[in-house]
């Protein structure tokens, strides 16, 4: 059996890639995909730990995260479409009419 530490290390790497992606990429859709990567990294950690502790609650949590991520996608894509309709562009740097 593969030790849980490998799974957790992989999930930490995925989470960091996702967080870096959010901070460095400028296309809204890519930022969005990076956020999904962060959530799925958490799912991996949940499932790996659930096996270590031999309990279902970690897997159930992962299911909840998947369902809620889907709800977030629905809202997020609707907002992106609205932005694209009004500006013909989904680049974050071009969406900056608000500043102080």
């Amino acid at each position: 059996m593969v030790s849980v530490n490998y799974y957790v290390a992989l999930s930490a790497i995925l989470f960091s890639i996702g967080a870096l992606g959010v901070l460095s990429r400028r296309n809204t859709l890519i930022v969005f995909m990076s956020i999904e990567l962060m959530l799925n990294a958490a799912n991996l950690a949940f499932v790996a730990y659930a096996r270590t502790y031999d309990t279902f609650s970690g897997q159930i949590f992962a299911f909840f995260v998947i369902a809620i991520a889907a709800a977030e996608v629905a809202i997020g894509l609707a907002l992106v479409v609205e932005i694209y309709k009004s500006r013909n562009n989904v680049n974050i740097d071009d969406v900056n009419s608000l500043h102080g």
Binding site: V8, S11, F15, G18, A19, V22, T28, V31, F32, I35, M38, L39, A41, A42, N43, A45, F46, Y49, T52, Y53, T55, S57, G58, I60, F61, F64, V65, I68, A71, E72, I75, G76, L79, V80, E82, I83, S86, R87, I92, V95, N96, S97, L98, H99, G100
Partner: protein
């Protein structure tokens, strides 16, 4: 598996009433003709009032529901009442305003109900899984509400809030995964037991820190505040008022609940983190607010600064002698902030023009001559946010600074006092503009708006003169 019983449902009755009325209204709204969507506002207010009635009967009650998933205690009752009153005030502020800016849709109030339900679930969470679900239930409707007017600025506010909110959710979920990894459970009470029983405290601390980052985004603590001014400025003002009160209450009560219940073993380390977070939030929020000329942005930075003051209440949370009064002071100041918050956003709504003009501080010049009552009310709110007698904001800050001193953190109290003095500059600048400069401001006269402004102004002064009942309520609400 045990079947849920009446006792389980009783713990979250106000939440269930809100969800039920939102679902019913979602269907009923289809049959209400366009142009008469104000009916939905009254029906939503009715649902909130019913929930508020039940929440009031739950003062002093306690219980655990759904195998420890939800909790009912003085703390949740206090938060629920504060949130439901915020919901009623938000509807009163929105009623005329969204008609004026051409965004009157029945969904507005329904989304508000869903978001409010999520906020209440945050306060009642007994498990990290419930914290996460409640957080999303409060956030997703708020993303939509921010963009509901479909103006370019509102859309921008919506997408910014969405991206940073989802980013913050990622931190909370990953933090929860690490806490689960360290203890094998996500139940708040069970985490404490496991932490005392040979759990991996290092992993637990990393998980707690990630959860703190995620919640810090939600209630806008520095350095996680970058979205706040943009979103507060771009979103329709009635949504901003709701967000500035509700999301802040929910984020802070969830932080109280999670850290005081579950992360007690980390208190020694976390105290320093909270000290730094509170100090930085107060300093940055107040100093940047000084440079703002737009009233919405100024109030946004003022909201950030107030998150810093309330964070002061967390600093001594590991010290049992002081923790109870400190948290009571935090909850008291939260109520004081919420009241002045709705009042001041109400005045902003009264002066805002349909095309988004009337939001500069210079636009407030001469308000005392044309609308003396409005100017007087704004003065009361500014004085309360600044913390000067005889207002409730002064009492709240007094309790907070005193609890910081009692907890042994005089440095933090000094920073708080100095930053309050700095805040006088930008709060009183509005008062000076209203009373000492000439101008010709136009204000909208809408009955519900005037009612809200009047009510919050009276509450600010009355609670400032007789604060003991509210403080008693807050004291009974602390987690022990």
């Amino acid at each position: 598996m045990t079947q849920p019983t009446y006792t389980d449902f009783y713990t979250i009755i106000p939440f269930l009433i809100l969800i039920a009325s939102a679902c019913l209204l979602l269907v009923a709204e289809l049959f209400i003709p366009k142009g008469r969507k104000g009916v939905v506002a009254f029906l939503s207010a009715l649902g909130i009032a019913a929930a508020l009635g039940f929440a009031l009967t739950q003062i002093g009650a306690s219980g655990v529901g759904f195998s420890g998933m939800t909790k009912l205690d003085g703390f949740s009752a206090y938060a629920n009442i504060l949130l439901l009153i915020s919901g009623l005030l938000s509807i009163a502020l929105a009623y005329g305003y969204i008609k004026r800016i051409g965004a009157e849709r029945g969904e507005y109030y329904i989304l508000l109900l869903f978001s409010l339900a999520g906020m209440m679930l945050m306060a009642q969470a007994g498990d990290l899984i419930v914290v996460f679900i409640a957080l999303e239930l409060l956030s997703i409707p708020l993303y939509v509400l921010s963009a509901i007017s479909r103006k370019a600025k509102a859309e921008e506010a919506g997408i910014k809030y969405f991206l940073l909110g989802a980013f913050a959710s990622g931190f909370i979920v990953y933090g929860t995964a690490l806490v689960f990894g360290a203890t094998g459970t996500t139940n708040l009470s069970a985490i404490v037991a496991k932490a005392a029983d040979g759990a991996n405290l290092g992993l637990l601390a990393i998980g707690a820190a990630l959860i703190l980052v995620g919640l810090g985004y939600k209630f806008a603590a520095v350095p996680f505040h970058m979205w706040t001014p943009d979103v507060y400025e771009g979103a329709p003002t009635s949504v901003t008022a709701f967000m500035a009160a509700g999301a802040k209450i929910a984020g802070l009560v969830a932080l109280f609940r999670v850290f005081v219940t579950a992360f007690q073993p980390l208190a020694a380390d976390m105290t320093n983190v909270f000290w730094a977070l509170s100090a930085v939030t107060m300093i940055v929020g107040n100093l940047i607010a000084v440079t703002q000329t737009n009233v919405k942005r100024m109030l946004a930075y003022s909201a950030i600064a107030h998150a810093g003051y309330i964070l002061m209440a967390f600093v001594p949370y590991g010290n049992p002698q002081v923790a109870a009064t400190a948290i009571a002071a935090g909850l008291f100041h939260l109520a004081a902030y919420v009241i002045a918050n709705f009042g001041s956003w109400g005045v902003v709504i009264a002066l805002e023009k349909a095309e988004g003009k009337g939001l500069e501080i210079a636009d407030y010049a001469g308000l005392s001559k044309k609308h003396p009552a409005l100017a007087l009310a704004m003065t009361v709110f500014m004085i309360s946010l600044f913390g000067f007698p005889p207002t409730v904001g002064m009492v709240g800050k007094f309790y907070l600074f005193r609890s910081a001193l009692e907890g042994g953190f005089p440095g933090l109290a000094v920073i708080g006092v100095i930053m309050s003095l700095v805040s006088a500059f930008y709060y009183l600048r509005i008062v000076v503009n209203m009373y000492m400069k000439d101008g010709d401001p136009e204000a909208e006269r809408e009955p519900w708006l005037n009612f809200t402004i009047g009510l919050t102004a009276i509450a600010t002064v009355v609670l400032g003169l007789i604060p003991q009942y509210l403080f008693l309520l807050a004291y009974n609400a602390t987690l022990r």
